[in-house]
């Protein structure tokens, strides 16, 4: 096993050597590229060539501050790396000239600085640890994101990569499983099943052939944790899987990645080829006689294929439909063989636990939920991005410290956790610790890590409708309650949002929700009523307003908006009548104009045009706030 230490020494030398040169590193995760990172990269290359600059130009993946993409990091030998946000190609010449040639970082564009080892810090730039987005974060699973080149085996090995595999291969299989059990690691794919226990089942399962499968389907709307990790640190997934393969006695692994993640697939392929080349995957790994190969299966983009039995069926080449458990995959999985299936993030935790020990891991988190969890912050929050926080942190901390609070100074209304399977949590419950059990008790669930923040302009009926329309189209259609029940629930929600709701609709929603939850075959159906049930529970008033007053208090359901003109404010300029495509506005010179509710198509074209702010509706309420309750007269 001299093999790895040699490689490690070589890689470390090369890695350290990089810091002796001036470096410009562009964030090229999917978010960075989407924001124009590749154009910034081209501008940097062009500028460096034309000015004949002797710099290293490299790339990395998303460090988590998606709201500041494209990001560029510049580091000079002996100095901290400075991360710049919101970069554009036209800023590049000045940036390079100032920071590299004149050695003056551009403070007003800098987001923060990161000091590796003993590099000198700049005075007026925030340190990463003091930057509010990061101050409450821990970086384990995401530690290499934005710091290393995801396509470089050198970077991975130099940052302790494959050390855990080497260590694991010198351990007894059962000792590895015991270590994972002691760490308290629970599945990050949503269910929170204890990982060590699952590995134990697969180890015990009888069979010469076993498989290890990584679930990288990540179908929740608004979730991109797994993508970020796959794009930013693909080797860590391979290492975690290989350790698992050794521990449970498997020699073959599959990564099921959705085809919508082409960059992740490409980086995984690169990583697999590199690992095979250096004997870290394949036959006789690190000369120990352990064989382990990994293949990639690109999923065709069905949410239900994230469900483990559907996923395995899909790898087998069949239509991805869940089947009844038991038998669990641990006993009868891929092609009927014992199979260990875990989420991306679960596997990535493994090398850290093996390297640093379960005691280190259990020092983070709560009694029943250990370690850290990666969340994707989205919605009406200031800092949208990827954040890794210790288990047990409060939702309030995530939203207000990490997330920087609500956009545009609006009022917080709810946070939706757990995607289409989850529920909404109110202001009152924001101090709940983030752990599997507290969230479930509050009617939401940890889920895979999607966290959608909603403000006062979000309509909770509309939110339920959004998730239901997702689950309805993603239901595999196998079982009656999910296939037909989601359709009817969605139809009812559509009715409520269009003003045709009836009081008995609430009872029907609750009954359907209850039955679908109780009787559906797989997790998709069993959890899909959660967004409805939790919003009815906490925001019943809003449902009642839609049904009884035909009003959407948040002003989000356009069909329920009633546009009116305040006769006191209207100066009779007739601009609104000209803007109205439906001819619904009439009036005369110097007389207040009037909107015919029956003709109005609620397009809102009149609203911004009125200089006198005389036009109002629920979304843009009347300033005097003394209008009569808006009832539809139709």
């Amino acid at each position: 096993m001299g093999h790895l230490s040699e490689l490690h020494a070589r890689c470390t030398d090369q890695y350290i050597e990089k810091f002796n040169r001036s470096r410009v590193i562009v964030g090229l995760g999917t978010c960075g590229i989407a924001a124009g990172g590749d154009k910034v990269m081209a501008a940097i290359q062009h500028e460096a060539a034309s000015k004949n600059m002797h710099i290293d130009i490299d790339f990395t993946s998303c460090i988590g501050i998606c709201f500041r993409e494209p990001t560029v990091e510049i580091s000079l030998p002996g100095f901290a790396g400075v991360i710049y946000g919101d970069m554009t190609p036209d800023k590049v010449p000045y940036l390079l000239e100032s920071h590299i040639i004149n050695r003056h970082p551009v403070e007003e564009w800098a987001v923060m600085q990161i000091s590796e080892g003993s590099t000198a810090l700049y005075e007026n730039i925030t340190k990463m640890n003091d930057y509010p987005f990061y101050s409450k974060q821990v970086r384990t699973v995401t530690s290499r994101l934005g710091r290393t080149n995801p396509e470089s085996l050198t970077d991975y090995v130099a940052t302790d990569g494959y050390k855990a595999l080497e260590k694991a291969l010198s351990m007894q299989q059962l000792d590895i499983i015991e270590e994972i059990k002691k760490s308290g690691l629970r599945g990050r794919g949503g269910g929170g099943f204890p990982t060590g226990m699952k590995w134990g089942f697969v180890y015990q399962a009888v069979g010469a052939k076993k498989y290890v499968v990584c679930n990288a389907d990540e179908g929740d709307p608004g979730a991109f944790m797994d993508r970020s990790v796959l794009e930013g640190d693909p080797h860590s997934v391979l290492e975690g899987m290989a350790i698992c393969g050794y521990a449970v006695g498997a020699d073959e692994g599959y990564i099921f990645v959705r085809a919508e993640y082409p960059l992740a697939i490409k980086r995984l392929q690169t990583a697999i080829a590199q690992a095979e080349k250096y004997g870290l995957l394949g036959n006789n790994i690190l000369d120990t006689g352990f064989n382990f190969k990994i293949k990639i299966k690109a999923g065709a983009g069905a949410f239900v294929c994230g469900e483990e039995t559907a996923l395995l069926t899909s790898i087998e080449g069949n239509r991805g439909m869940p089947r009844v458990r038991p038998p669990f995959p641990a006993n009868q999985g891929l092609w009927g063989k014992p199979t260990n299936l875990n989420n991306v993030e679960t596997y990535v935790n493994v090398p850290f636990i093996i390297n640093r020990g379960s005691d280190w891991y259990t020092s983070m988190g709560t009694e029943e939920s250990k370690g850290s969890k990666v969340f994707c912050l989205t919605g009406k929050i200031n800092n949208t991005g990827l954040a890794e926080v210790p288990m047990g942190i409060s939702l309030r901390d995530i939203i207000y410290s990490v997330g920087g609070g609500i956009q545009n100074g609006k009022r917080f209304k709810a946070v939706q956790i757990g995607g289409p399977s989850g529920g909404c949590i109110r202001e009152e419950d924001l101090d709940l610790p983030v752990d599997y059990d507290s969230l479930t008790a509050a009617g939401a669930m940890m889920g895979s890590g999607g966290l959608v923040v909603m403000d006062e302009t979000t309509c909770m009926v509309d939110v339920a409708k959004f998730f239901l329309s997702f689950t309805q189209t993603e239901s595999c259609g196998k079982c009656t309650p999910c296939r037909e029940g989601t359709k009817r629930m969605l139809e009812i929600l559509n009715r409520l949002c269009s003003g045709a709701g009836r009081m008995e609709d609430l009872d029907t929603l609750e009954r359907l929700g209850r039955v679908v939850k109780n009787t559906a075959l797989c997790g998709l159906g069993q959890t899909c009523p959660n967004p409805i049930l939790s919003t009815i529970l906490y925001y019943r008033d809003e449902y009642l307003a839609h049904i009884q007053d035909k009003r959407c208090p948040a002003g989000a359901c356009s069909a329920l908006l009633v546009y009116q003109i305040d006769p006191d404010k209207c100066k009779g300029c007739s601009k609104c009548a000209k803007n109205c495509p439906a001819g619904a506005i009439t009036g005369g010179k110097k007389k207040p104009y009037f909107i015919d509710v029956d003709k109005c198509i609620k397009c809102g074209a009149c609203l911004p045009g009125c200089q006198f702010e005389a036009i109002y509706n629920d979304a843009a309420p009347h300033r005097n706030n003394c209008r009569p309750a808006t009832r539809r007269t139709a």
Partner: protein, 353 residues
Amino acid sequence: MTVTEITLTINDITVTVPQGATVLEAAHQAGVFIPTFCHDPELTKFGACRMCVVEIAGIRNLPASCVTVATEGMVVHADSPAVQEARKTVLELMLANHPLDCLTCGKSGDCRLQDYAYLYGVKTGSFEGERHCYPLEDDNPFIVRDMNKCILCGRCVRACAEIQGNSIVEFTNRGFNAKITPAMDVSLAASDCVFCGNCVAVCPVGALQEKRLRRAARTWEVRKVKTTCPYCGTGCSFDLNVKDNKVVGVTSCDGDVNGRALCVKGRFGYGFIHHPDRLTTPLIKKNGIFVKATWDEAIGLVAQKLGQVKAQYGSDALAVLSSARCTNEENYLLQKFTRAVLGTNSIDHCARL
């Protein structure tokens, strides 16, 4: 090997079943009725329709009894209020997307959806909303497929794959638009379907119907007469459906040899029975023309000719070819006759081909 047994209670009835039995099987043994659509003892367990859900102490949801293995000491309630609510809701959901044309549906009277709706007192109209509007598939001589009536129990899919070994139909699309179709959603006629009709035999509703039978008689008008198929020596059993003393169709029964499986000839090839061209007496060719004869005349003629050939040219001038449509016993007798009476070993059988 002794079979381990386990004991559980269902609706307070204690029942002992072999280990590995499902709750549904245990309920059956205990005499407790549990409705099912997708379950079929001959096919792989599917657990899809959720009609057979039950309440089990210590289990969170309402599991499907057809796929839940009974365990020692299990306490099952097969008719609790939650179970009743769930079953009614499942039925309402199915009916909300069903044509409800029982008045003219050929399956009426032999339809599980109809039976259970009656049993649970489910009224229609609980959920107004979209219904499917697929065109009726009526372009082949044997099967009418009305996917608007399909409840997606998947029995036909499994019957085609597991009984017939053909896998012509499968689930396609997702969610509400899920549908059972041959590849590329073509009609059965345009697929590689062999029209064995085994899918029709397992369909619990009127989505798949025997074309001629269901146009000839209501389900309650026919008398079923179990018989053995005359087409080949396999000996499949089926029910002749008889109306006004005429065979109007064939349906599967639970045959000892074949279960419910039949081939296209057995299930749909009964047209010869009342066909005007059918032979009813033996014919003897006289002066180049077939003329009606009695059995005595015909057999006498054959015996005379065989004797003549044997006397003139010897036994080995004779050879016998028997038919796969004969029974084993008939074939045995024929070879005995060939060897012992005709005196030759030259006997063969068409099934060799």
